[in-house]
Symmetry: C2
Subunit: 219 residues, 2 copies
DNA sequence: TGTACATCAGTGAACGCGCGTTCACTGATGTAC
DNA sequence: TGTACATCAGTGAACGCGCGTTCACTGATGTAC
């Protein structure tokens, strides 16, 4: 089952293979993601990524400007992974109920998806949102899930639906994403890095539900 | 104005001076705090602390087991500094109003103190609560402010007053500190490390007020 | 179809960096007699 | 009060570490003729 040489460009399946390695850029990115998943952003180490890709350390410089550049690419991919986690959570939603019920369920799914991702993919979460980070410029495909939306856009959309359903006064809509985000972000960090570290998943879920109740009531 | 030799133990003022340096442990701790204030926890570097104390690198090992031990001491001191920030915020409170008004004002002061500390002492905040951290064992004097309470105890106390004033159903009291903390912690991080980084202090205050409104209403 | 050439992905070796930490020491102090 | 001794805070030199990054290279590929 050895690789045949591509006649001109071929191999067909990967959009754009590179010459020697096949697709070193992708391999490095995936190694970086694995490192991030294992140990968070500071574990994304150039030399280790090249090691895992089976390549000399400096080969990375053909595809990334340096360590920082690789880390940034990994970060975007981690954000996209979070978006997909949220989408999975929303897909599991019942389609029943009126617009109001659906809007509320959607907002909760966004929050629950955030927390679930933080809990189950802690390394990636810390890479995406753990340290210094900025909002992706809207529409960056690297940070979007399958739906084409990034996590922040999902949150904004859920809040828009809440307004449309008459559950959130339009006057309170501006900036509401930051209030909701703060809340859930804070709990996520308390759970993964803070004093709530040891909590059983069910206990975390309980807290999360109360927190989301609080947001709904308070918003 | 040269130092006279102490006759037996003397120098009197510092509780327990060490022999050669005067009080190297304290000097290292303070250098560590300065480093943390400038660059957060990862800036707390043993060699640099000794450099600032004017001492050989390995001298630190007379007073700390190693880098981790120094960092931990710095962390506790940073937590205590936050407690004092909260206390300052509470001291500025009007004593007027009934118990209900006072209880609410107190909770807001705790939250506002937290956010203010995060904004004005970012490096120390990140050292205290930025990475992995655990709750101090209750009553640890190293993490307490002048009042003898640490930040978490201040929050708990404010919530107790809220219950006493009849503003928070006792049934909802258990775990409420984690909900309130999450909320404020999340906003703090969004402001210092996240997408809200560029915001003017007044805008942050505006968001903070809305957030605290939300907590009060939602709790 | 066949040969000469240009491209550029990956190589191999080496750098300087600052870090935390260990070792055997030295010399000012406090204490026993 | 005066001398001998023990203590132990701080010294000086050195370590190994893995990192990111640079250099001049090599050799498989794609392309021009």
């Amino acid at each position: 089952m050895e690789n045949r040489r591509p006649s001109s460009r071929a191999k067909a399946v990967p959009a754009r293979g590179s010459y020697r390695h096949g697709d070193l850029r992708r391999a490095l990115l995936e190694a970086g993601l694995a490192l991030a998943a294992e140990g968070g952003p500071e574990a994304v180490v150039l030399r280790e990524a090249t090691r895992r890709a089976g390549v000399a350390p400096n080969a990375a410089y053909r595809h990334f400007a340096g360590r920082q550049d690789l880390l940034e690419a990994v970060r975007r991919a981690a954000v996209a992974a979070m978006a997909e986690g949220m989408e999975a959570q929303m897909a599991a939603l019942a389609q029943a109920g009126d617009a109001a019920q659906q809007a509320r369920a959607r907002l909760r799914a966004v929050g629950a998806g955030y927390l679930r991702f933080a809990r189950t993919q802690t390394g990636l979460f810390r890479t995406a949102f753990g340290g210094s980070f900025t909002l992706a410029s809207s529409g960056d495909p690297d940070t979007a899930g399958r739906s084409g939306m990034d996590p922040f856009q999902h949150l904004g959309h859920a809040l828009d639906l809440l307004v449309a359903a008459g559950l959130l006064p339009a006057a309170r809509r501006p900036g509401a994403e930051f209030l909701a985000w703060s809340t859930v972000h804070g709990l996520a960090l308390l759970v993964i890095d803070g004093p709530l570290r040891g909590l059983a998943p069910e206990q975390v879920d309980g807290l999360a539900q109360r927190l989301l109740d609080m947001v709904e009531r308070g918003l």
